[in-house]
């Protein structure tokens, strides 16, 4: 069997899809950012709270709508990011996301997998004044 299909939907992914962690909004987020995957219609909004050092990520919450891969990825990332530094967030790339998901992702679905990561990264860059976009899209 090729990459993809039901192999992609291991228990962990389905669990995060059906019972998303950190789902909702934070009261006083340091920054909030939204993004979408226009082709699939996946949407993600991420709220991030930074510690007083303006570097350590304290808490993350997300809201969203879309396929199992995009939503599970956001849920897992919300757990992973807590305790990391902004610098570490910026250095994440698609391989880190695929490692985190723990399954092989078919080429057509990589965009779904990395949406949450891109939203969090853009959110940080906008907060630190290094970027100016209203909405992240995976098409860019």
């Amino acid at each position: 069997m090729g990459i993809g299909g039901s192999d992609m939907y291991r228990q962990q992914i389905l669990d995060h899809y059906k019972n998303p962690r950190n789902y909702g909004e934070l009261e006083d987020p340091t920054f909030t950012h939204v993004g979408e995957n226009p082709v699939c219609g996946d949407t993600i909004r991420m709220d991030v709270v930074l510690a007083d050092d303006e570097d350590t990520i304290e808490r993350v919450a997300f809201r969203g709508d879309g396929c199992a891969i995009s939503q599970a990825s956001a849920s897992m990332l919300s757990e992973e990011l807590a305790g990391m530094t902004v610098e570490e967030l910026r250095e994440m790339d698609r391989d880190d996301i695929i490692d985190m998901l723990g399954v092989e992702i078919s080429a057509m679905r990589v965009k779904c997998a990395v949406l949450a990561e891109k939203v969090a990264q853009d959110g940080a860059e906008i907060y630190f004044g290094e970027k100016d976009v209203d909405k992240t899209t995976t098409e860019d």
């Binding site: 299909g5 899809y17 699939c40 879309g66 199992a68 891969i69 078919s106 679905r109 779904c112």
Partner: protein, 414 residues
């Protein structure tokens, strides 16, 4: 034919012409249910393509040598064959393009950009494919013409009262999709043509989903323009058709300039070639055109009326099977009403992309997404739907395989 019922397609025999349908993925024979995107290519058409390159290949029109003459005659006669297929009045009314999208753009640029301006109106529908919707939208922006959309109701019907309201003496162009690639609705294009003509407007019919699967006669529906794609009707990719009424094509400006489309050129000016070559600049789609003519033969041998019925039957069967489940919503006309051979649907708790991924495990090929009707999906309140679409080689058995696989998706995601 082996069948005793002359009105029924001999699907088993047809399948013999499509070796690709024998391919297996993970032990399952492919159930190809993505025909609204592109259809498979039967052996006679594959043979025509190979045969052309083996025996006849040459550039057309310019050469006096034997190969060029043979290629030219075959290419020109392909226009005659396509004209006959849609009831056009000869090759002058049939322009070969790249696809439906280019046919739409040809008219949008050649007519829309040059003739339209502020105060003019373009009337189209909410269920247009992006190939027409985006094109007219941009023509509206560039010329100042207004673009108006005929409403579609929840069952995928055009609101004809709204159409009569929108189409006025200010309307210059009415552009409508014949069979919707999302709803499967067969729109009343003949009636819309009458309304358009009452107001001296042109009607452009997007036949991408109708010409492949039902008899379409441009005289019957009185279309001023009709566009369709070879790859959705047993032909190759890389060829589309623009039908246009002769007097309109004669008056309209060319779209692309260059070789083949000119009669005489000086440093100061140029004059245009006869129809249809005036609209076919540069080396045209020679092999694809000849192959499309072969596809027309292939489909006519089966019979377009039989194909229409077969498609409708498969769509009705799909509606019936999907109707067994409370967690499934289907889009378009209700069961019992004729539609093109496609059904788009949504299943609770399972995103269309996850579903198509699961179906792929069963070698069931469907399409998931917005099917190039994004504003319509937004209106329906769904980001993406799953669409099964049929052609001459599909069976109820393949639809059963689709329905069976849905259980697996439910077990995983719900």
């Amino acid at each position: 034919m082996a069948t005793t019922e002359p009105d029924i397609l001999d699907v088993e025999r047809i399948r013999d012409d499509f070796p690709i349908l024998d391919r297996e993925f993970s032990g399952n024979r492919v159930a190809y249910l993505d025909n609204a995107a592109t259809t498979q290519t039967p052996e006679p058409v594959v043979e025509t393509i190979a045969g052309y390159y083996r025996t006849t290949n040459a550039n057309v029109h310019r050469g006096l040598h034997q190969l060029s003459q043979e290629a030219s005659v075959a290419y020109e006669e392909a226009h005659d064959r396509v004209a006959e297929f849609i009831g056009a009045d000869g090759r002058e009314e049939v322009v070969f393009t790249k696809n439906t999208t280019e046919s739409e753009n040809l008219v949008a640029y050649a007519y829309g950009l040059t003739e339209l301006g502020p105060g003019d109106e373009i009337v189209t529908t909410e269920m247009e494919h992006h190939s027409s919707l985006v094109t007219w939208q941009q023509i509206g922006k560039r010329t100042g013409a207004d673009v108006k959309y005929i409403r579609a109701d929840d069952e995928g019907h055009l609101d004809m009262d709204h159409a009569r309201e929108l189409i006025t003496d200010d309307t210059e162009m009415v552009s409508v999709v014949h069979v919707s690639n999302t709803f499967g609705t067969v729109n009343p294009v003949g009636t819309l043509a009458d309304i358009a003509h009452d107001h001296d407007a042109y009607i452009f019919v997007d036949g991408a989903q109708s010409v492949p699967n039902r008899p379409v006669d441009v005289t019957d529906i009185d279309a001023d323009f009709l566009a369709f794609s070879g790859h959705k009707m047993c032909g190759p990719t890389g060829i589309g058709v623009l039908y246009g009424k002769r007097h309109i094509l004669e008056e309209m400006e060319p779209f692309l300039y260059g070789g083949e489309m000119i009669k005489r050129v000086t440093y100061e000016d140029a004059t245009w070639n006869e129809l249809p070559w005036k609209y076919e600049a540069g080396t045209p789609v020679i092999c694809q055109g000849i192959a499309l003519a072969e596809a027309c033969d292939y489909l006519d041998d089966i019979g377009m009326e039989k194909i229409r019925r077969h498609e409708d039957e498969l769509a009705q069967y799909t509606l019936e099977r999907l109707g067994e489940f409370d967690d499934i919503e289907t889009f378009g006309p209700p069961a019992g009403e004729e539609r093109g051979g496609l059904v788009a649907f949504d299943i609770d708790g399972v995103h269309a992309h996850d579903l198509s991924e699961i179906l792929n495990d069963y070698a069931v090929a469907v399409r998931a997404g917005h099917h190039c009707t994004q504003p319509l999906h937004e209106k329906l309140g769904v980001a993406a739907t799953t669409r099964a679409s049929f052609y001459i080689y599909n069976t109820e058995d393949e639809i059963d395989r689709l329905v069976d696989a849905l259980d697996d998706a439910r077990a995983l995601f719900q």
